[in-house]
Symmetry: D2
Subunit: 364 residues, 4 copies
């Protein structure tokens, strides 16, 4: 298994839902970035369940400890180990899943591939491993902020409820005012109702999360096989429950003519920009200086309490399964934090790779 992502700014993630810890090693962060556990905790708290009506009522405190890589309040160029010790990990009996894979969960593939599968709480296939992403992302975000780059994710659709387009300032403000982390407060209300209705039914619902990165200079990404859009697509598709990724206009490009959506150039305040941003800030695999915009399609949480058909792998016969427990009826709000983190990791990596951030020492 390979649990690393990034070339120069590199995350190696470890741990499982019900094992002793989940965490990540961040290697390649230059020295002299001010960093404390609080910088990471702040992001983890946004991801934490049990904080609103629309997430699972499970409580997880998720306190991070930094085990290495900081000297006198600053990174020193050595690997940063961030760890969350799991609590109460043996609180529940999962043995009914040992031989009976849950539909649309990774259980079956894990069992086939590794033959020794920690089925408790989904093991390393659990959404809980995204704590590692968020640890890495928090550090990446702090590093990017020194260069004027900011990243924000928000929910744009839940089921058939779609948010209206808002300007970036409104989005930033609004997502803090509703549990769905939607930038349109009116839609947010409807989304919340839809999620609660699905929860009531023991069902779940999908949605779409958009991520906007501003302040990114032109020239990130390496044409052909290490393109910025390819790397974003990989890291975003890698998030559990994501089934689609698009940049800029995305799938809408299919229905358009070149003359309708080509991004023409202009000079604005002596700077070259494009009049439109249908490309979503990436063209030819490289950033072009415009905001980078991606969207991910998030499937409904597969853990539902309705009765479903499965099979018993040992007996090779049909078996019904009901997944009791307190699951997120919609994972989109919490995934906004993971989408931000994943985007930040890719951008931090490419900022170093392209020579915008010094590889060893921020003070150079």
């Amino acid at each position: 298994m390979s649990n690393s992502i990034g070339e120069k700014f590199r995350i190696t993630s470890f741990g499982a839902s019900h094992g002793p810890t989940v965490g990540a090693i961040v290697d390649g962060c230059p020295a002299n970035l001010e960093l404390s556990a609080e910088d990471i905790q702040k992001e983890l708290d946004k991801r934490k369940p049990g904080t609103s009506s629309v997430t699972t009522p499970r409580k997880e405190s998720d306190e991070v400890q930094i085990l290495s890589g900081i000297f006198e309040g600053k990174t020193d160029g050595t690997p940063i180990a961030g760890v969350v010790f799991n609590k109460n990990q043996h609180s529940k009996d999962y043995s009914m899943f040992k031989n009976t894979p849950r539909p649309s969960h990774g259980d079956y593939a894990w069992m086939m591939k590794y033959g020794n599968y920690d089925y408790n709480g989904g093991g390393r296939g659990s959404g809980r491993v995204t704590i590692g992403h968020v640890i890495g992302g928090a550090i990446a975000k702090k590093l990017l902020k020194t260069q004027g780059i900011e990243i924000i994710s928000h929910v744009t659709q839940i089921g058939n409820v779609k948010a209206e387009n808002k300007d970036l300032t409104s989005i930033k403000e609004n997502i803090e005012k509703n549990p769905v982390r939607c930038g349109d407060l009116k839609a947010a209300k409807e989304m919340e109702e839809l999620i609660l209705a699905k929860k009531e039914e023991g069902d779940s619902v999908g949605g779409i999360v958009e991520t906007i990165a501003t302040g990114v200079p032109a020239g990130l990404g390496e044409p052909v096989f290490e393109r910025l859009d390819g790397d974003l697509a990989k890291v975003l598709m890698n998030i559990g429950a994501v089934k689609g990724v698009e940049i800029g206009l995305g799938f809408d490009v299919a229905t358009h003519s070149g003359s309708e959506i080509n991004d023409e150039f202009q000079i604005e305040n002596e700077k070259i920009t494009t009049k439109t941003n249908n490309s979503g800030g990436i063209i030819g695999g490289m950033s072009n200086g415009m905001p980078i915009i991606s969207r991910i399609a998030v499937k409904p949480t597969p853990s539902i309490s309705k009765c479903q058909d499965s099979v018993n792998l040992e007996k090779l016969e049909n078996e019904k399964i009901e997944i009791k427990g307190r699951h997120d009826p919609c994972i989109c709000p919490r995934l906004t934090v993971v989408a931000e983190a994943s985007t930040a990791i890719v951008l931090a990596d490419h900022m170093i790779r392209s020579g915008f951030i010094h590889p060893t020492n921020l003070d150079y």
Copy 2:
């Protein structure tokens, strides 16, 4: 720049549109695979322009030579170099693009990033570099065929014309019968008309290409950061003109409940399968034994003959641009070959990485 893709089955691509060659090194193909230049030429011929009404009328012969890696008609485990020598590469004057980037082309980012940009025919940013992908993909396809894996790409949408769903056998037959490579002959006719109308206008149009891989065993892909869906998303998004990638239901998951789209298990002929394949053959980042289905959103070719706004980079002032020449009004038909190749490269790589194909010698 990094021009390699894949970990064990690894392609390193090189060359530019109007340089001496384009080609690729394929490293990591196990020994004892029967392979000849014809195996590669067959795929290159499908990609070649000038073969139908809907592609550019430019003629490119694109004859591949194998410069290494074959001994007595079989791979010998050493790197396979495949090269196409460009012909007539100095036939046209591109100097008007030297300081005037084409809208929605990579020109501007290339100039910013590298400062020495071969603007002739788009240089290494040209679609012509996908010859390297196809060389790698042809070898990957031959390798996968020894394991019963087949990959087919077809056009499912052009503009607002959508193909109806057909069974795989019909798709395979039908795509050979129409220049659009669409599996639905009725839609194909409409698509062709739409493309020709856009061509007439000096404009272009986008579309969607679907890729289906059958025979893939359960267990490809490494959870968390080297997932099969993440690797497919990367390689597909890396194809020039692609702005979105989806797996299985893709963006449609947003509007569904878990109970509607979870793939329940069943036992069919003593084998475990799922009743539906909304996951598109990948779950938890790993293949589950069902067909692997992806879709890419392809933007309209940005090279259009209509007048567009650009800027002169040297003078830092506005400048109009008209892109004359014989461009593909719709790149989707030719991209089917590149999507197949890219998918094949990822699957071949993961077949070796997961232990299904021996890493050094097919005869083991």
Copy 3:
């Protein structure tokens, strides 16, 4: 900084001498290997200082905890995190080294490169980080043992005292009987005396450590750039204090003719072997089935209590330095454990890469 080694069996190391922890993530160990903290502790105990007359009298308990990767007593294919929490790490004042680099230590280069250097106990430049190597090596050794591969390191020279050649069985027995871990008990006695004499003088002494790996099949290593000898040379030279690496006859080849040292083939018990093993088990960059033999040159510990010339980096003027404390007068005995671990990591990696060990599941 990159703190990882290995392609398929991959160690990512972290932590510093006086930070909260030192440890390592081992990624890519196949599932179903029986593994416990004791397997690792056993190796760490051999590395631990304070256990004999010839090492530093510093006491370090070095208790390892496994934080992930084990399910029901066996590896489950997910990353294994092994951590040692440092104790009493703030016991001493190192501030005199803040601006005054110690001769033949990494201090100066660290300061130049990273600009924020944890000088306490040498920070991440300390020999204490080899705890990460040993954690990785212990797991690698257990994995290799399932394939009949064993690795043993022993001291063959200290200063001018050289051990006589012994057979492998004697070496294994004898190294447990003397604090120097030398296979020749007579030489061991002289070596111990020499080390104690140097310790008395506040000085240190160098030596040579040999590593022998038996049971390695023919065919490990990839010709040209990922050769087995190249990978061993890298990992062995990477050990702090090592200034030379040789395989088989090593530097002695310079003085010989081909006819004297070529390893001729023979058939022994229906197996092909070589009559001599001057190649040290590696030829053309690949293992040939004979024992793999390497030797490393270990410099005298640079921390000596004698007065030395240094410079003050802030004032840019000459400054004397005396390094008080309880240092190893000779690091060779403790490095045997690190040499074994490093060799094991490379061999485990190549056993998977070459298809001898299944990449995901030992039970296949």
Copy 4:
């Protein structure tokens, strides 16, 4: 097989002794380096056989062509493909080696590992593949020269004949004056005689090659697992026929005390240097600003015309072998070029990785 080396400045080599070509792709060279085929040809000519009494009288013209990566006389950041087309590659019958491996050649391991081995002229195991190294090295040297870094390799020992230490200027001058490429003209004469005597006997002889790199700034190399000494050791040990690598004092450190060989600091012309350079310019895995000095042990060419014992792999019985042909009686003189190239590749890579050379554009 993996045929690449380097992380940012990356060589991918391909081709075999008697196949159509040998060559290399150089990826990651920044744009705007002036480069022509002549820059590479100059280095290849030094490696070429048939130019003196002490090399094989085989004639190989070895003309390089650059197939990509240059625009208007300068690199443009895209991969540089350099290729030599082999001539007269079918001139000789090698079929007697098909089942009878040559002693101390890679034949046996190749056959075991890949099962389809191009035995003609040693296939990809031939020294001829170092043409790829030299292509990469020539570009690396040109890139390093822009930073004031120079690399020179010379022969210091052949058999028991040892060169006296000379200053760098004399070495540079003297190696051009004798076919052995030795810096001490008196020793060179004796070395030449020794080689010719061995040639006469149908035998061969080993030696030692030293490489000196000047102008390298402090701070190259990443502590722990990507150290500069480790990377040099890997790339040098990877050269066929090399059985040992040492840095600075090398194996001599074993016999010394810390007080004898520690490199004390001093201030010279307001710069910090060390009084001695026993560390060979690398300490703690990083360059310290002093000249980088390495030495490799080169075994006698295993191809000798004396009769040797081998086995027939098909019949599994003993078989005698005589290797006729025109082999180098001593490979050291030609390996100086390969050692320079290999060292240059590592240094160029680390200069980019450490931020001393901009990763995309030399003109930044």
